[in-house]
């Protein structure tokens, strides 16, 4: 298993009230699984992805990445797991505006201390794969939203992680571009045998997924 969660729970305290954003989630994702988590806004999708991506700490429960219990790890070790094992694709792309497309893709490799030459080779190859060979030196503001999300996908794949987490990756795109992007993401992950968890409220994505979970008020059920 790439990811396994055990009774995963996240409670937010707002004044005197408690909000159970994720409630006792048990989820298993195997190598190369394409998983979608579908639910309306505020159902807990982003919180669940942040917990699985080790960007947030659960109130209760555990996240296992490659069968390693991450609840026992220090922040620095969680960072290393994120760097080597998890790629992120965000709804608003989150490309660094001062870097070119090429540099944005090189960034995770630079953080992983990959040699400059290898970084450049891999980044060019990934950008060619997402059909942006002619946009290497463009900065995010010079790209269309579809192109930005392609750069973000290339960046997520840079360190060849076994798991990609995509939070509403088509949320900022029109439906045609959204379908292209999700197809591209799933195709690439299939080729590279990478597991993907996509959080979305777009029912059209379900046709591409191997497994679908529905989330409501923080609790999930398999479709």
């Amino acid at each position: 298993m790439i990811v396994r969660t055990l009774e995963l729970t996240r409670i937010y305290r707002l004044g005197s009230s408690c909000i159970r954003a994720v409630n006792k989630v048990n989820l298993e994702v195997d190598k190369a699984n394409l998983v979608t988590i579908v639910g309306p806004s505020g159902s807990g999708k982003t919180t669940l992805l942040n917990l699985i991506g080790l960007n947030d700490q659960p109130t209760f429960g555990k996240v296992f990445i490659n069968e390693e219990d991450t609840s026992l790890l220090a922040e620095e070790e969680r960072r290393k797991i994120r760097l080597q094992n998890i790629g992120f694709v965000f709804q608003t792309f989150n490309l660094l505006p001062t870097l070119t497309a090429l540099e944005n893709v090189e960034l995770p490799m630079a953080l992983a201390s990959v040699s400059q030459e290898a970084q450049r080779r891999r980044a060019v190859q990934l950008l060619e794969t997402v059909e942006l060979a002619s946009r290497l030196q463009h900065r995010p503001k010079e790209l269309s939203t579809g192109e930005m999300q392609r750069v973000a996908i290339a960046r997520a794949l840079a360190n060849s992680p076994p798991l990609i987490l995509a939070d509403e990756p088509t949320g900022e795109l029109d439906s045609g571009t959204g379908s292209e992007i999700i197809k591209l993401l799933f195709d690439l992950c299939r080729k590279q045998k990478t597991a993907v968890i996509v959080a979305t409220h777009d029912e059209k994505m379900l046709e591409f997924a191997d497994i679908t979970y529905r989330i409501h008020d923080g609790s999930i059920i398999q479709d």
Partner: protein, 365 residues
């Protein structure tokens, strides 16, 4: 910029004042009671009859006394200026060395003729440069056309702006007659370490005069110099504090505008240390470029101010740029700016490093 301007301007004037006390070191300066003496020269006050010099020479412990007439000029033209731009000094022709020591003259120059009717003067190099004066040029002071026969070759700030002439000529120029008045005399004691004794003897034997040793002249000016330096230090401290707040504010704004970028870096696996280093490096670069710009702007402002105060053309100040704002002062300011930036970057760097990734990413949607 303000630190450079304030620091360079005040330190330049304190340096000039300190340098003035190099003159007549070991000798005693005698002036009229009530005269205001700045280091070696009276800047205002009464005159003394020239025959008083002979009285002083007869006093026990006195080897010799040299009469002098000193006037601070505020331009060779009639325009009013804020600070003196030249010092006219009348000295008996056989005693030029008491003021100029072994200072050489530029090629083909000579000391003025002892004959006051020749109306000859020797001037400092800075004054000559400013007014485009050469050997044979004439300058006009109080209806007298004076011919330049020598130009001193010296880096001394004071000597650079002197007009040296025979005492008789100075008396004609400034008293409009060769009346025997002077406004200071330089008294050489017979032996070293006798200055205090000689001062007591002069003040006991001659009424209406003030005799000052080099130490006493220093003591007069020391509180003023100390006040100027304290003020300078205070201003610099305050400006550094303000600049630290400014750099901190800029850095905090910079970080808060890019919270999502730092959170993204964290999500991608950047360590807290590397995010901290990134912000500190940015603030140091802001400090470095800000500091370099400030030094440049401050230096230009200092030169402009000095040019306005003295009416000396700006181009001449540019030629002696490092004399006005010393390279050591520039390096000190740059180093201080870098330290300030480094300290100012700590709070924003900690804030960026400790950003809660999930909260920041969520809040941006």
């Amino acid at each position: 910029m303000f630190i450079v301007t304030i620091g360079a301007t005040t330190s330049r004037y304190t340096t000039i004042i300190r340098e003035m006390n190099i003159f007549f070191s070991g000798d005693i300066v005698v002036v009229a009671q009530g005269s205001i003496v700045v280091q070696a020269f009276p800047i205002s006050g009464g005159n003394l009859p020239e025959d008083m010099v002979d009285e002083v020479k007869r006093i026990e412990g006195v080897r010799t006394a040299v009469p002098m007439l000193v006037f601070f000029g505020y331009g060779l033209e009639d325009a009013i200026q804020l600070v003196p731009t030249n010092i006219s000094i009348g000295i008996p022709p056989e005693r030029w060395e008491i003021l100029a020591g072994s200072t050489p003259l530029k090629p083909d120059g000579r000391w003025p003729s002892a004959n006051s009717s020749a109306k000859e003067v020797t001037v400092g190099p800075s004054l000559a440069d400013q007014h485009n004066l050469a050997l044979g040029s004439t300058i006009r002071i109080k209806n007298y056309n004076l011919t330049i026969v020598g130009i001193l070759d010296t880096p001394s700030t004071t000597l650079a702006r002197v007009i040296i002439m025979p005492l008789r000529l100075a008396q004609c120029v400034y008293f409009l007659t060769d009346s025997p008045w002077i406004n200071m005399m330089v008294v050489e004691p017979e032996e070293e370490n006798m200055e205090k004794e000689v001062v007591e003897n002069i003040e006991a034997n001659i009424t209406g005069v003030k005799a000052l040793t080099a130490d006493e002249r220093n003591e007069i000016i020391a509180p003023l110099l100390s006040d100027i330096e304290t003020w300078n230090l205070g201003m610099r401290g305050m400006l550094f504090f303000l600049s630290m707040i400014l750099v901190t504010t800029v850095a905090i704004m910079n970080v808060s505008e890019r919270r999502r970028d730092f959170a993204t870096l964290g999500a991608l696996g950047a360590s807290r240390k590397s995010i901290f280093r990134m912000v500190i490096t940015e603030t140091i670069l802001i400090g470095l470029f800000g500091g370099l710009f400030g030094i440049l702007a401050g230096t230009i402002a200092t030169l402009f101010l000095a040019s306005i105060y003295t009416r000396i053309p700006l181009t001449l100040f540019f030629q002696g740029l490092f004399g006005v704002v010393s390279p050591i002062f520039m390096v000190e300011i740059l180093a201080s700016t870098l330290i300030v930036s480094c300290v100012a970057g700590i709070i924003p760097a900690i804030s960026a490093m400790n950003a809660n990734i999930s909260e920041v990413l969520r809040s941006e949607y």
